[in-house]
Amino acid sequence: MIKVEKLNSGYGKLQILFDIDLEVPRGEITTIVGPNGSGKSTFLKSLFGLTDIFSGRITYQGKDITYIPPHEKTKMGISYLPQTNNVFTNLTVRENLRIAGYILNGEELEERINFALEVFPELRGILDRKAGSLSGGQRQMLAMATALVRKTKILMLDEPTAQLSPKLAQVIFDKIVELRDNYDITPLLVEQNAKRALEISDVGYMFVSGRVAYGGSAESLLNHEKFQSYFLGVVGIEEC
């Protein structure tokens, strides 16, 4: 669905990512893990067009989207939800959902909002509350619901369970699986909660210092010694 070839990108003159090769298959959950500063979030931003791309190629369903601006990618069905500031806190929940479908006409917009509320019924009772007054879990659900309103085909989520309790994190992971299984949405995750994220994933990548250190099935990554050394503390980082 998305294919990245030899991607080099960063901010201004500062290069963060080096020669990234990666594939996101349709209908599967792909998760990127890695230590802090490994370039995971920058990678999602690069896919969405929010960084400076120095070289390389990004294709989406066979079409070159390397230099396409973010609002055009949105129209193509690509959504990106940043870790923070992923909803408009001064707007109500209803307004957030309406604005998410800005490019849709009135009737279609109402259909999509109803669809998003079917997937996230938790939002029905708080439609007139300002997003700034919601809990972390509610905000994350609203952010994901906005992606559904705008006919998302691939949903890029930057640490969707950050700062959530284990119970709420589980709810979010369950929703991600539901999106894949029931709504033909391809999730692409960046997660610090690496073990739990890979357990629900089909494909896994591990970034270290801006490079792909490993790529393969999520299960194989979970059992890989590099993953175990970084995340489960089997051996020290220096030894790795």
């Binding site: 929010l50 973010p70 604005i99 998410a100």
Partner: protein, 306 residues
């Protein structure tokens, strides 16, 4: 005393219109527009021109000044700012650009006043409209018109921002432009709209200003302090801040100066802007986000369900 109160209210109304434009462009473009006061003086001269050339009452010229002001606001963005924004200029560079644009407008206004003087065979470098004002039951027209303009502007802005799709997009773009872009909103259009409205409101205020005070090409330099003080005291990050700040600064400036002139003599009157300046400095030092950035204000908003 009643005249002072009327003057304070009219000045406050005009400050609200001027500060609204300054706040909107600051929120959408991130640059304080130092040419905002000159926009108003352009409006004053447009009203004067229509009065002299076709005999149109300045109040009736308000729709024309609104549209021409909007075009001036757009021109400012397109000519002075957009080329620099494209080159990723710093905020300091953009501020200097608006300052330079202000100087250009000042030069154009000065030259234009001379040209108009030559055409009308009168001195047009200094003028007032006070003799043209009307009265209804002792209430001067400038108070009625300026209050109506504020009411219509607030009502129009409320309907636009809260009841239309474009308005919600505008609010979204003001809060988080990069997320708004991710939603498929063309953030550039919302910037253009704010610059149009900023110029339009300022020129509209400018066409009423000569009913309150003498206008000379340099008048913009005298009133710019009050406009910035209104926006900053109210809160540069909140549209309502312009409304709150406009009334606080407008009334304080007029009434404090009046009281001080009684206590210390009429010589104090020329220092009226010092009050705005002091309030602005106090706000920047004590609470840079202004009144609408305080916790108390947020409580009021929650209470009003805004």
């Amino acid at each position: 005393m009643i005249d002072v109160l009327i003057g304070a209210m009219v000045w406050s109304n005009l400050l609200v219109l001027l500060a609204l434009g300054l706040t909107m462009t600051y929120i959408t473009t991130g640059v304080p527009n130092f040419a905002q006061a000159s926009f108003a003086i352009v409006g004053s001269y447009i009203a004067l021109t229509l009065l002299r050339l076709i005999g149109l009452n300045p109040y009736l010229s308000i729709p024309v000044t609104f549209i021409l002001g909007g075009i001036l606001g757009l021109s400012t963005y397109y000519i002075a700012l957009k080329p620099l924004i494209k080159r990723k200029a710093s905020i300091e560079m953009l501020m200097i650009a608006t300052l330079a644009w202000d100087l250009i407008l000042f030069g154009i206004i000065g030259a234009y006043s001379e040209v108009l003087s030559a055409i009308t065979k009168k001195t047009e470098t200094l003028f007032v409209f006070t003799s043209l004002d009307f009265n209804i039951y002792g209430i001067p027209g400038r108070l009625i018109v300026s209050s109506l303009l504020v009411l219509l502007t607030i009502l129009g802005l409320y309907l636009l921002l809260y009841k239309t799709k474009f308005g919600i997009a505008l609010r979204a773009s003001m809060e988080n432009p990069s997320l708004a872009e991710a939603m498929g909103i063309n953030v550039e259009n919302t910037r253009l709209f704010s610059w149009f409205l900023s110029g339009a409101l300022a020129c509209m205020a400018g066409s009423v200003l000569p009913y309150l005070q003498e206008i000379v090409p340099q008048t913009g330099y005298f009133i710019v302090v009050s406009i910035f003080a209104a926006s900053i005291v109210g809160g540069l990050y909140h549209i309502v801040g312009a409304l709150v700040g406009g009334y606080i600064i407008g009334i304080s400036e007029s009434l404090f100066t009046y009281i001080l002139s009684i206590l210390l003599g009429p010589g104090v009157l020329v220092y009226s802007k010092v009050i705005s300046l002091l309030m602005m400095i106090a706000t920047v030092l004590l609470h840079p986000r202004g009144i609408t950035g305080t916790e108390m204000w947020r409580r009021v908003e929650r209470w009003l369900n805004l």
